[in-house]
């Protein structure tokens, strides 16, 4: 992994990947949302309201995925002192927070017409709210210290501690009686969602994933440039 630690090499690879990820994201989101809004059928129980799923579910998947990725990067930073891992974690958390927020908002808008409530303190909703707060805490710790290295260290510890919440979110609907439904896609006996709705969902999910890749690479690149500028400023100050 340390082969990719060199910022110049990372930037070269990122520049190679970015166009594919960017165009892929636009294409998958375009096709996915077209299928979701115009082609996919209405649900037999929920009617047209089911279309909120095509934003809600991929956002929730991304919020969980990004947190796990951030925790892995934080472990790499703490244990192997991988210099780019901290940058990756710093670049990821605001994006993850955005997806967690989107999950909560779309879930609330979906809950009102279907369940009859904007919010209930059940296992799934509460653990998802905690994930959102963990992201906010990670962002706050990142910027809480004058010395960026100390910020990296503190935020990495929080990211690792918070990863315990990820399996709790996933299995909350199985462990406890909740208002939220159990899993429809990622379950042992296969999806309980009809293929005419599953395909649009998977294509939108791919679009969300590629959108994240694009965004995180751009943010990492700009973070590396900012660090370089800070170093140059410092060197000039010392010289004068």
């Amino acid at each position: 992994m340390h082969r990719f630690a060199n910022p110049a090499r990372f930037t070269r690879i990122a520049d190679r990947v970015l166009p594919f990820a960017g165009f892929g994201a636009v294409a998958a989101l375009g096709i996915g949302f077209y299928l979701a809004l115009f082609v996919a059928p209405a649900d037999y129980q929920q009617g047209e309201t089911v279309r909120i799923m095509y934003v809600h579910v991929p956002s929730a998947w991304m919020a969980l995925f990004i947190y796990v990725a951030m925790a892995v990067a934080s472990a790499a930073a703490l244990i192997w002192r991988h210099p780019l891992a901290d940058v990756a974690a710093k670049a990821s958390s605001p994006i993850g927070a955005g997806f967690a927020f989107l999950t909560l908002v779309t879930g609330s808008l979906w809950g009102r017409p279907m369940w009859g409530t904007w919010w209930e303190w059940d296992g799934r909703l509460t653990s998802m709210l905690i994930l959102f707060f963990l992201y906010l805490g990670h962002m706050a710790l990142m910027h809480a210290f004058e010395d960026q290295q100390r910020g990296y260290r503190a935020a990495a510890v929080l990211a690792l501690v918070g990863v315990i919440n990820v399996p709790i979110i996933k299995f909350s609907v199985d462990w406890w009686a909740t208002l939220h439904q159990p899993a429809s896609v990622l379950r042992l006996d296969g999806p309980t969602i009809h293929s005419s709705m599953l395909w649009p969902l998977l294509i939108t999910a791919l679009g969300f994933k590629l959108y994240f890749v694009t965004l995180v690479l751009l943010r990492m690149k700009s973070e590396l440039i900012a660090a370089r500028l800070r170093a140059l400023d410092l060197a000039r100050l010392k010289a004068s």
Partner: protein, 152 residues
Amino acid sequence: MSLTRKRRRLYIVLAALLVFGGATALVLTALDENLDHFRSPKDLIAEPPAPERGIRLGGLVEEGSVERSADGLTVNFRVTDLTESVSVTYVGILPDLFREGQGVITLGNMRADGTFAAREVLAKHDENYMPREVVDALKASGNWRHGEELSQ
């Protein structure tokens, strides 16, 4: 044999995760059913709560049990877990998904006569997503099963 610093940090991180994960698992096990959002009719009959205490009762709306009264707002129905059932009275507007055989969660309290006075009724929906034509086809071929698995 001495450990390299990287090895040592790896073990520290793994041990910390294990301890913290274990502690979380113990706390969640201890809290157990307190983390449930609602209780089933069986639970309520086994341990009746104090009448003044607000609780959530969840289960399926029993087939053929829904009675609407003349004022158009009061509804009587039974909530069942397919073993036991509890009579529920509710005055107000029901969610769109409310129907016989549907999962619901009702917030209210037990009356002295063993019936449940609900002040809020929420509808649950299950994990099945299908277009209407597929449901019709399943019904026509006799393969349709509704409300078979109980939302605990």
